[in-house]
Amino acid sequence: MREVQGRQAPDDILIFDNYSAGYLDDDGHIINLLDSLSFSVKEGRALGIVGESGCGKSITGLSAIRLLSKQLVVQGGAIFLGNENLLEKTEREMQDIRGGKIAMIFQEPMTSLNPVLSVGFQIEEVLARHRPELSPDDRRSSAIELLREVGISAPEKRVEDYPHQFSGGMRQRVMIAMAIACHPLLLIADEPTTALDVTIQAQVLALMKRLKGRGSLMLITHNLGIIADLCEEVLVMYAGRIVEKADVETILKKPIHPYTQGLIASIPTLRGERQKFLYSIPGMVPAAKNFPSGCRFHPRCDRCMDLCRVEAPPLTKIRDGHSVRCHLYSGALS
């Protein structure tokens, strides 16, 4: 494919290189969803992907383990794990990677575990797949150890239990135990706490924080608070495009894209002047088949210019580690 070999910095674990994907509609047309995503997850660091529902963040996560549903098709680009392009791997090779080198935690702990299999079996299964040298007894003791690690009390007993005997938060802990079972290079967490109560969210976040640093993390969420808590770098996505990419400090304190600014402004705050109304970005995320021309955010943008309606802004580098996709900064104005 592209001139990629040796191109990435040595500490990049996962690299999305100009990756595009779309979905097949009933007439066989491909409608673009993800448009030229380029970013990387660095070794031992956490990258947060933030955006509203429908902006393509979950599909980005699923793309990295190539578990897209059949209607979704890759339109171009590459995804590198180390030096290997995942898009060129056979299904068999991908199976060796899934759960082993890249693991994923899903949003819905209530439905992501199989109701008719014990949690012990479901954890041991990962080990059985990727570490065949372990005996069944070794797998069982590893499963118990993993359950203990994610904070489940009396794991020797709970290992025999079925998912419905666990609460939502506990199930998400089980999911995490499954995901870290084989010490993956990269953990993808897709809205890991969204379906949980606030207090439980905090506990699960604390657990993820404790486990952080063993490998890289790609955290997908719509909650900037969680990103602030866990991530070093942030990717803001809107309608399938990266609109702003920077370190967490910059995104939270000095965002420059109108969309990121809107997102930050819509976080309720306890400090400063008391606001009567919480800011919200007008309108909603368009469906993929109605993505607007030009900048996909332009219909909702309060600083929209004529140019924004016709031409998609390029991803412009503001300084090292901070890029933005907006005509205000693309140099088109000068």
């Binding site: 383990i65 578990l67 299904e91 068999r92 199976q95 060796d96 990677i97 899934r98 759960g99 082993g100 693991a103 994923m104 899903f106 819905e108 439905t111 992501s112 575990l113 199989n114 109701p115 008719v116 299999l117 014990s118 479901q122 299964e125 990962v126 797949r129 990727h130 079925y162 419905h164 005997q165 999911m175 499954m178």
Partner: protein, 323 residues
């Protein structure tokens, strides 16, 4: 689990009791007087009265019901109006034939239906699935007498390959020749019953498999790096089987007496044929016995189905509630 079984059992017994009561009452509500069916109306009123006394029909209805229940417990279902044999004997003569037909049909339906249904689900909307769908619709909507007569005409009359009726060629032979003879006789009724039942099995296993394959936990299993074969076998199959097990249980229950049309057309000496003949002969005790047996089978099958489902699904097993 013990509590679950106990509660299911109690529920089943209650259902059986209610159905016994209903069968008992329905017969009493019939306009015809049983005595006038059994005896010559020309007999003197005194003799008729005496007969009523002999049969216990002069007693109040709850006493009659009590006597009926007691007799039931002793296995006494009364006597056939037509043959004067005990009803239980008549039923026991017919039951093996129905069971034979039922089990062959059931085993064939499951052995062929399950793999076909699951394969169709996995190849959803591909050619195989489309063909299967058309065949299922045909098999379910076809009128049993029509297909039966078509089979009889083709295989029995035109080609002369298979016998046209009965369960064996009288007089019955011995040993292997007899088995072969019965097998030849059972081909057409079995195929007729197989059409509808296998279609049901395919429909249920296909649809539940399609639903299960969309579940989040299937994606989780793939995310662990397992292949399609393993995920289907370990994660999808057990979940997809639950509705199929339930419908199979119901199927067995209804097949015990349900093959009335098929058994009648092929002159198969089973319970279905017996029901048909008894209706024609107004043989109430036999009908009553057959209905009773039928309801007990249905309840027993439901009970067994619940146990099997509980065995597969831990959510039911442990919580005790939810059927």
């Amino acid at each position: 689990m013990a509590e679950y079984i106990f509660r299911r059992l109690m529920k089943s017994l209650l259902t059986v009791f209610i159905s016994i009561m209903l069968t008992f009452l329905i017969i009493r509500l019939m306009p015809a007087d049983p005595v006038s069916l059994m005896v010559d109306p020309k007999l003197s009123p005194e003799v008729q009265e005496q007969m009523r006394k002999n049969f216990g029909l002069d007693k109040p209805i709850y006493t009659q019901f009590g006597i009926y229940l007691l007799n039931l417990l002793k296995g006494d279902l009364g006597y056939s109006f037509k043959t004067r044999e005990p009803v239980i004997t008549v039923l026991m003569q017919r039951l093996p034939w129905t069971i034979l037909l039922m089990f062959t049909t059931l085993i064939m339906s499951l052995a062929i239906g399950l793999p076909v249904g699951i394969t169709a689900a996995k190849r959803r909307n591909k050619l195989f699935d489309r063909v299967v769908n058309v065949l299922i619709t045909l098999a379910i909507s076809i009128f049993i007498p029509f297909i039966s007569f078509a089979f009889l005409y083709l295989f029995g009359y035109r080609l002369g390959l298979l016998p046209t009726g009965g369960a064996y060629t009288p007089p019955p032979t011995q040993g292997f020749a007899y088995v072969l003879d019965v097998a030849r006789h059972s081909v057409l009724p079995t195929i007729t019953l197989f059409l509808g039942n296998s279609a049901t099995v395919i429909l249920y296993s296909r649809n539940s498999m399609i639903d299960v394959l969309k579940e989040d936990y299937i994606r989780t299993a793939f995310a662990k790096g397992w292949d399609d074969r393993y995920v289907t076998r370990k994660h999808a199959l057990k979940n997809a089987l639950i509705p199929t097990v339930t419908v199979t249980g119901l199927m067995i229950g209804s097949m015990m007496g349900g093959a009335i049309m098929t058994e009648t057309i092929y002159a198969w000496p089973g319970v279905g044929r017996l029901i048909y003949d008894s209706v024609n002969a107004m043989d109430y005790p036999v009908l009553q016995g057959a209905f009773l047996m039928l309801s007990i089978t249905v309840v027993a099958m439901n009970f067994i189905t619940d146990l099997v489902v509980a065995k597969i699904d831990p959510r039911i097993r442990l919580s005790g509630g939810r059927a």
